[in-house]
């Protein structure tokens, strides 16, 4: 369908007016760079500008809520309920990252730091809106390249090493993905995976190449979500990167990857008409991620590295939430995403508190610190209980929703892989207890073997942030309707 130039210009103008949240982010990026030109050195100024742009972006998402899907830029992007919900989560995640960064104090190259974080958020926003493979690759790379740099922001040798590994691994994953996209483009004749011709062409194809190309494209998403088998970069990068960056990496790109994966899976599954069962693949990947993440986390001695494996397992749970591929499961997935965002940030916030006070995140070094730092210890314990999925926290509610929707899907379809997913998920909740509660065990039970620890200030901004997040976890346990009632109104159209 060829459009006239004026029509095309009109489309561009209309689309741009709808892209307000992204434009605000772009404005934020540009103003940060401009400030740098004027040799502003204070991290707080950059932070304030970035926080302002993120907050405004989030508010504009709320204000311009698109209940009816709107296609933009000749079907490159689409604004809808689903993407808006995730954009809101990304804004929240980035905001928390900035708050965490500010509370940790000064930063090297603040302008670059802020602009890169905003760019990654912009990439995440675009990724969840993408309907075209071109946009998928572009926004994935937008996230990837900025996070490659952010991962090395300690500017140390391990930091650089981690960053380089991340880059190389990511490049390989992207290469595989692009290969898959090119194959699929050849098979379907379109890059728009939500279009009807994409579906109709692929239904006509009975070649294994469709399946093969689908697997290759999966690689890119799994890399972003740090799911098995593209998870190997995570521990090294998490260990070497600054803590706020780790918190960001473990939430925003991961959620973006999972959300995009959902859209892609629904497309490649051809709305249930595919001869190949993609649900099984998602479930299998979820099982592997949960098992590998949890089992590897068991013996970790470093809190950040442990959290890396934990986030691999959590990616598995997010994919498990996606696995039923039903409308309700998507609502539960957003619920799980929101809760995961809160609890993960809570843990990292409190780890940050320990890191700034005691200059270490080694689990053994935390022994007996509950005596000197009671408030962060208690809050951290609660956040970890939420990550484990125990009541009375929202972590329990989220897992309960996920497991119940899997059970429903199993009773509906009778696929044994879903039952396995359910059983292994439950079993791994028990296993995860051992490493999550290792930190409270060291904090409260083990005596401090080292010298007298420095007494910590209880009333810090970091603690306050942690407290707010932990309270949110309790609130969503007791009133899950606050979130679910809102999610229930969301329509999902692909």
């Amino acid at each position: 369908m060829q459009l006239s130039l004026t029509d095309q210009l009109q489309w561009i103008a209309d689309s741009t007016s709808i892209l307000v949240p992204e434009l605000i982010l772009v404005a934020g990026i540009l103003s940060v760079i401009l400030l740098n030109i004027f040799r502003v050195v204070h991290f707080r100024i950059y932070g304030a500008v970035a926080i302002a742009s993120v907050t405004l972006s989030g508010l504009s998402v709320l204000l311009h809520w698109h209940t009816d899907p709107v296609s933009l830029f000749n079907h490159l992007l689409r604004a809808d309920d689903f993407s808006s919900a995730y954009k809101l989560l990304f804004a929240l995640g980035t905001l928390l990252t900035f708050l965490l960064s500010l509370s940790s104090g000064t930063s090297n190259k603040p302008a670059e730091y802020c602009s890169l974080l905003l760019t990654a958020t912009l990439g995440a926003n675009l990724l969840v809106m993408s309907t075209s493979f071109i946009m998928v690759i572009l926004s994935l790379e937008l996230i990837s390249i900025s996070t490659y740099v952010l991962a090395g922001f300690h500017f140390t040798k391990p930091g650089a090493e981690g960053s380089l590994k991340y880059f190389l691994f990511g490049s390989a994953a992207t290469a595989i993905m692009i290969y898959g996209i090119s194959l699929l483009f050849g098979l379907s004749g379109t890059l728009n995976f939500t279009s009807s011709e994409f579906v109709s062409h692929l239904i006509a194809q009975h070649s294994s190449l469709v399946m093969l190309s689908g697997f290759f494209i999966l690689a890119g998403f799994l890399f972003k979500a740090s799911a098995v088998p593209f998870h190997l970069w995570a521990p090294d990068v998490y260990e070497a990167a600054p803590l706020p960056v780790v918190a960001f990496l473990s939430v925003v790109p991961k959620l973006a990857g999972v959300a995009a994966l959902l859209k892609f899976t629904l497309a490649i599954n051809l709305f249930g008409q595919s001869f190949f069962d993609w649900q099984t693949v998602i479930a299998a990947v979820a099982i592997l991620s949960i098992v590998v993440g949890n089992l590897s986390a068991l013996a970790q001695k470093e809190a950040k590295r442990m959290m890396a494996y934990s986030s691999i397992a959590q990616a598995g749970f997010l994919m498990a939430a996606m696995a039923p591929l039903s409308l309700q499961s998507m609502q539960f997935m957003i619920f799980y995403s929101a809760v995961f965002l809160i609890m993960n940030f809570a843990v990292f916030t409190l780890l940050q508190q320990f890191e700034t006070t005691y200059k270490t995140t080694s689990i053994h070094a935390l022994a007996g610190l509950a005596k000197t730092a009671l408030i962060p210890s208690v809050l951290l314990t609660m956040a970890l209980i939420a990550l484990t999925g125990l009541p009375p926290t929202a972590g329990f509610t989220a897992k309960l929703f996920v497991f119940s929707s899997i059970w429903e899907a199993f009773t509906g379809t009778g696929k044994s892989i879903l039952l396995w997913l359910l059983l292994i998920g439950l079993l791994n909740t028990v296993i995860s207890l051992f490493f999550y509660l290792k930190i409270p065990f060291y904090l409260f039970i083990r005596a401090n073997t080292l010298t007298e620890p420095a007494s910590a200030k209880s009333f810090t901004f970091t603690n306050l942030l942690g407290l707010v997040l932990v309270i949110a976890l309790f609130v969503f346990f007791f009133y899950p309707a606050l979130l679910m009632g809102w999610l229930n109104r969301i329509n999902f159209v692909l």
Binding site: I176, L232, V281
Partner: protein, 649 residues
């Protein structure tokens, strides 16, 4: 009696009742430094009590009775009242109890002046007097039972006063247990009364008895009589009284001669309206057996106090026998006179024991001071005691001109009248009464003869000791009691029992000259027989007829009971304990098995899973070895494996 009089009578009666317990409480708080003042304090209070009761007696005697009613407790909306009654009977007993208690208080101050537990002794003595007066004043069976038990308890404490003596403890326990057996029946009787009449007030019950089934009344009265049997040492619950002589002698005089044991007889007088003719036959039978048994016991006994105790049992049996005659007046009269002469005899015995103890102490010799075979010819050494003992003993024997003769005559006359009313069993009871009075003379003569006459068997020891004269505080109470043993205390005419006291008690019978003559002759005959029999060292003696009840109880009850308890014990050990041990062992064994199961299988499984998880974890972890080329290799390889698996499946 005017209302004003009633007011004062009530107050004085309460004073007479409460002053002994005031003494008890006061002694509990007296500092131990004032220990020497203890007898003075409590005797003074008792004196006041005696004066009050004397006033009460004078005001109330032959006047309408005064009843005090108060709400004791309200249970389930039902008011339970307690009643006290001051009439002829209770006023008389009030005086007697307070009077003898006062004399015993005085006597004890000399008798027990070196005792370590003097304070405790006087306190319990006061408490006992209070409890006894509670029985006396009560007009409600439940109030009576309340004080009945307090009397039993304080008696237990007093018998066991010398707690270092094991015999005293055993005797106290025995007395307590025997009383419990009687009280069990008593309590059932009270329960039946309550169920039947819904009241325990004597007067209320008395009004209702006319319309009651006689068979039921017989049962109730006999059950209540069980209590009487326990307290008044009636056969077969009689053996505790001789044993109770382990207590201090003044206690024996007060409790086991004049007051507590008399409580049973007194209670019978109070509940006399309940006794049907059938029940009275049983009562008389029990009384006659007791009277005979006690008399034979007194013949056999050699311990001075035991003789007196058996004599008391016999006399109590005599009173109960008299109760069967259809009137309680004679028995109460005998109870009254007996209280004085028996207390006198006990205190005299106490004096003798005290004297011989002093002798023993000075000469450092050892002999049983209570054994009458060690005495003899004491009339030269203890002249006052001798005279008092003689008068009281003669009174006990029923020698004319003395109180005992008069009261015994009353009982005999009453029994005689029952035979005139066509009661054939009455002749049997009358014969038994005469036999008992014959035996009484015999054992009293024997006792007096052994103690005061003939050759003194320990004359040289007494000579050596040069014992000084007895203190007045010992001889005075004895003398007063001896003086109270003459006929004048009962009536003006020494041969006529129906004097001023007898006529004031319930339903009196007229005097009968035949009985007076026969009993006088009978006593003289008995004296002659006793004199010759004892002088000639007789081959025949009534002693061999004495059945030792304790041996009988031991053979018939105690041994089978102990055997049974041994069986049950062995059963308990073998089967009950065995099964418990077996259960315990089984439990431990199962627990060990469970523990083994837990260790090997459960823990093993858990540890195994943990080790497995750790092992898999270390494999998956080993993939992240830090080499980026191997990361990419593993990622692509697993993707290929994935694809192959999908393609091949």
């Amino acid at each position: 009696m005017t209302a004003d009089d009633t007011f004062w009578v009530t107050r004085l009666a309460l004073a007479a009742w409460m002053l002994p317990v005031v003494s008890c409480v006061a002694l509990l708080f007296i500092p131990s430094g004032l220990k020497k003042r203890v007898p003075l304090v409590s005797s003074s209070l008792l004196f006041l009590a005696f004066i009050s009761s004397a006033f009460v007696f004078v005001s109330v005697w032959n006047n309408p009775s005064v009843v005090i009613t108060w709400n004791w407790f309200t249970f389930n909306g039902m008011e339970n009242n307690g009643q006290l009654r001051i009439d002829n009977l209770s006023a008389l007993m009030l005086v007697v109890v307070n009077f003898i208690s006062l004399l015993v208080h005085l006597f004890s101050s000399a008798y027990l002046h070196n005792d370590a537990g003097l304070k405790r002794y006087y306190a319990i003595l006061g408490f006992f007097t209070f409890a006894m007066l509670g029985i006396v004043l009560s007009d409600n069976l439940f109030v009576t039972f309340f004080f009945w038990e307090l009397v039993g308890f304080s008696s237990y404490l007093l018998i066991g006063h010398w707690r270092e003596k094991p015999e005293a403890g055993a005797a106290a326990t025995k007395a307590f247990l025997f009383n419990r057996i009687g009280d069990a029946g008593f309590l059932i009787g009270i329960g039946l009364l309550w169920a039947q009449f819904n009241s325990l007030h004597f007067e209320t019950i008395a009004k209702a008895t006319a319309a009651t089934d006689p068979a039921l009344l017989t049962w109730i009265s006999l059950l209540l009589f069980c209590g009487v049997m326990g307290k008044s040492a009636q056969f077969p619950l009689s053996t505790w009284l001789p044993d109770a002589m382990e207590g201090p002698t003044p206690v024996s005089a007060l409790i086991h001669a004049a007051t507590m044991v008399a409580a049973g007889v007194f209670l019978m007088a109070r509940i006399y309206f309940l006794f049907t003719p059938t029940a009275l036959v049983v009562v008389s039978t029990i009384g006659s057996i007791t009277a005979l048994w006690g008399a034979f016991g007194a013949l056999k006994a050699l311990d001075i106090k035991k003789i007196l105790a058996y004599s008391t049992v016999s006399q109590l049996g005599f009173m109960i026998l008299g109760m069967g005659s259809g009137s309680f007046s004679g028995s109460i009269l005998h109870l009254f006179t007996h209280a004085f002469f028996k207390a006198c005899l006990f205190l005299s015995a106490g004096t003798i024991i005290h004297y011989l103890h002093g002798v023993q102490h000075k000469t450092h010799t050892h002999f049983d001071v209570q054994d009458i075979r060690n005495m003899g010819g004491l009339r030269q050494h203890l002249p006052y005691t001798f005279f008092a003992f003689l008068i009281a003993g003669a009174s006990l024997s029923g020698v004319p001109l003395l109180s005992g003769f008069v009261s015994k005559e009353a009982i005999l006359t009453q029994l005689y009248y029952t035979t005139q009313n066509g009661n054939t069993l009455g002749w049997l009871f009358l014969c038994i009464a005469f036999i008992v009075s014959f035996l009484t003379v015999y054992y009293t003569f024997r006792m007096t003869y052994f103690i005061f006459f003939g050759h003194c068997r320990i004359a040289d020891v007494i000579q050596e000791a040069k014992a000084e004269r007895l203190p007045l505080i010992l001889t005075l109470p004895v003398s007063i009691l001896a003086a109270c043993s003459v006929w004048l205390i009962v009536s003006w005419n020494p041969s006529d029992f129906s004097g001023w006291i007898y006529n004031g008690l319930g339903n009196p019978v007229p005097h009968h000259l035949i009985i007076t003559v026969i009993s006088s002759i009978w006593v003289v005959l008995a004296f002659i027989f006793a004199y010759f029999n004892l002088r000639n060292k007789p081959r025949w003696s009534p002693i061999r007829f004495f059945p030792d009840l304790d041996v009988f109880y031991t053979v018939t009850l105690l041994k089978p009971l102990l055997q049974l308890s041994r069986y049950t014990l062995s059963f308990d050990k073998k089967w009950i304990d065995g099964s418990i041990h077996f259960a315990a062992y089984a439990q431990v064994t199962i627990a060990k098995a469970v523990m083994l199961f837990d260790r090997v299988l459960i823990d093993g499984a858990v540890n195994g899973i943990a080790r497995l998880a750790g092992g898999i974890g270390s494999i998956t972890r080993s993939l992240a070895n830090g080499k980026i080329q191997s990361y990419i290799l593993w990622a692509t390889a697993s993707l290929v494996i994935f694809i192959l698996w999908i393609l091949l499946s």
